[in-house]
Amino acid sequence: MKKDSTKKTTLSRITKREGLQLLKNSDLLGLGVLADKVRQKLHPDNYVSFIIDRNINYTNVCINKCKFCAFYREQDDADAYILSRRTLFSKIRETIKCGGTQILIQGGLHPDLDINYYIELLQSIKSTFDIHVHGFSPPEISYIAKKAGYTLKKTILLLQEAGLDSIPGGGAEILSDRIRDQVSPKKIGARQWLHVMEEAHRLGMKTTATMMFGSVEEPEDIIEHLHAIRRLQDRTGGFTAFIPWTFQPNNTELGQNREQGTKNSTCKELHTATAVDYLRVLALSRVYLDNVPNVQVSWVTQGLKIAQVALRFGGNDFGSTMLEENVVAAAGVRHMVTIDDIVHAIKSSGFQPAQRNMHYDILRKRF
């Protein structure tokens, strides 16, 4: 074990260099002790929160075609779709029936949909249902703005007025253009992603931030990502939570290259993240992002058992119950989990379950 991981007990902000040392050289349990301390300091009440919501993907058509994605389709593919209003509404109705308070609505960058589609979509949802709309990640916002010829600020304002409550942190992948050029060359760059989030925060809108790791990045890229989030958060305070999760290789271009042991140099050495890698990155995120209040564990990519362990490696939130999830499922990973399973998983890890909303207000404590 390197000395910095044990010496660091004061919980002051760590530098990029210290972060890199912890990520590369610390022993996992030592790093876990640190992350667990930070989590306890920020969340002394022993609650682990979760939200009842549903992921709704309004379309799977996407011009970005990222290499790590198993979900996207071309416009003329047989299984390409745009969700009808009717289907969308019945999904929202079901969500509310299950005690849901939010929908996460995201989709591909569909070349035929313009800003009016989104505005009408939001207006129709909001005029029919009392539900929080957490929607459209920065690549979508950016694409909508570009097609409309509006500034980001004007675009977000229009969407906000139409009923958008908050923005999910997807599409961040690794905020390092060196990596984005390899895995998602058509997607917006790191700077633009941060720019969308900054504009949203300035308009008083809360957002989350994600990180997808375990593809082709190096430890340095992960630090670059965490650092970018921490800097923006210092300025705006607009991120409610950080959500790291791991690349799922099945049915993706990147995964295929990996299986074939391709000569394509970017993918030759690709090994997806193991449980040890996941907990290491999660714990480091908790320690590094001292200004982001919540860190979510990813049971969708890790399964419930690792998610439980992750609650002792910095996580304080179980994320969403995911009454529906399509994107990770497209990569062949599906953990059948009910609200009751999540409540029990939290309890048997030694914590109290609490249902929350997107602002992390507690809605229900008794289960």
Binding site: D27, L28, L29, G32, V33, D36, H271, T274, A275, V276, D277, L279, Q302, G303, L304, K305, I306, A307, Q308, V309, R312, H344, A345, S348, S349, G350
Partner: protein
């Protein structure tokens, strides 16, 4: 905090008491428990983590016992009941590459051995199954004999203590005679299944027809005396208490003091699907890691603690390597028992995947034979 005292004991190589083991189960300081267990593992095995290329055969799921926690067993005539044909078993083993070792030793043709290396031969077959009401002891002996004859270099690890007891009762032979005859037929070691939790009241609830803990230990003591090395398991996470787990491990530790015949201890996480234990759930990942760690600390006379990835899932099994486990079992082709109860793990792991998991945990992968001797 009282873990300090336990830490001192562990570091000075002193044995933990049952009270201390219980204290560890009740503690939520998983980091200290994990660190201590990892130190204990290093004392036994340095940073080595062992794995084996092996194949599982479950010859039948027809069983007279029908334990409550078992999703595998069927009664005769039930839908889904099966009996594997011995010829088919041998054909399958041969096809999947077990013959390679004998070929390598009988020919010196380097191309042959090079080609067959790529097929990832396995060196051990693990045979456990139900207690079939119609099969005779001779039938089982013949099974071992025929496999041994067809594949002389394959190590045969077969039959839990429960099966051995059953063979003894259907043949009218003593335990000693039963085991010696199996040994003569070619059985070389035994797995550790059927131990569950030794406590009587727990057994009454979860496996009333099964032999009791005393008999299980008696079978193992006899096997050790005959010169058959065995493993020992503990099925946890159903209706038992922490006291029951500690008591279970204490009985194993006491026997090991006498015989030294146990190779590995294998904590098995209970799986709830398709079983008839009411309100049963999957164990928590935290409980899995603590149980591994505490077993490493408490069973100071066991050389190996196995993180059986089929039961734990490969992710928790990998983490277990940082909590005192030094063995990941193996490639495990064809396992059926855990799968019937909703296993969370992959179907089989390749040699490369096992090595990758071990290295990413910061450990040194060592491919082993059935007696923990490094191979290649």
């Amino acid at each position: 905090m009282s873990l300090k005292r336990i830490e001192k004991k562990v570091l000075s190589g002193n044995r933990l008491s049952s009270e201390e083991a219980l204290l560890l189960f009740e503690s939520d300081d998983i980091f200290t428990i994990g660190r201590l267990a990892n130190q204990a593992a290093q004392l036994h095995n340095d940073n080595n983590v062992y794995f084996i290329q092996n194949h599982h055969i479950n010859p039948t799921n027809i069983c007279v016992n029908r334990c409550r926690f078992c999703a595998f067993s069927r009664s005769k005539g039930d839908k889904g009941a099966y009996e594997l044909d011995l010829k088919k078993i041998i054909r399958k083993l041969k096809k999947q590459g077990a013959r390679v070792k004998s070929q390598e030793s009988s020919t010196h043709n380097s191309t042959v051995s090079h080609n067959t290396q790529l097929k990832a031969p396995f060196t051990e077959v693990h045979i456990v199954g139900g207690l079939h009401p119609d099969w005779s002891f001779d039938f089982y002996l013949d099974m071992i004999r025929q496999i041994k004859k067809a594949l002389p270099d394959l190590h045969i690890k077969a039959f839990t203590a429960v099966e051995i007891d059953y063979f003894s009762s259907i043949s009218g032979l003593s335990l000693m005679q039963t085991l010696e005859q199996l040994q003569d037929a070619g059985l070389e070691s035994m797995p550790g299944g059927g131990a569950e939790i030794f406590n009587k009241r727990v057994r009454k609830k979860v496996c009333p027809e099964k032999i009791d803990g005393k008999r299980w230990l008696e079978v193992m003591a006899t096997a050790h005396r005959v010169g058959i090395r065995t493993n020992a398991t503990m099925l946890y996470g159903h209706v038992e208490s922490f006291e029951h787990r500690v008591d279970h491990m204490l009985k194993l530790r006491n026997l090991q003091d006498k015989t030294e015949g146990f190779q590995a201890f294998i904590p098995l996480a209970f799986h709830p699907l398709n079983t008839t234990i009411e309100g049963a759930r999957y164990t928590s990942g935290i409980d899995d890691l603590k149980t591994i760690a505490i077993s490493r600390l408490f069973l100071d006379n066991f050389s190996h603690i196995k993180a059986y990835w089929v039961m734990l899932g490969e992710k928790i099994a990998q983490l277990a390597l940082l909590f005192g486990a030094d063995d990941l079992d193996g490639t495990i082709i064809e396992e059926k028992i855990t799968r019937s109860a909703g296993a969370l793990s992959a179907n089989a792991l390749t040699r490369n995947e096992l090595i990758h998991l071990i290295q990413k945990a910061g450990k040194v992968p060592v491919e082993r034979d059935s007696f923990y001797r490094p191979v290649r």
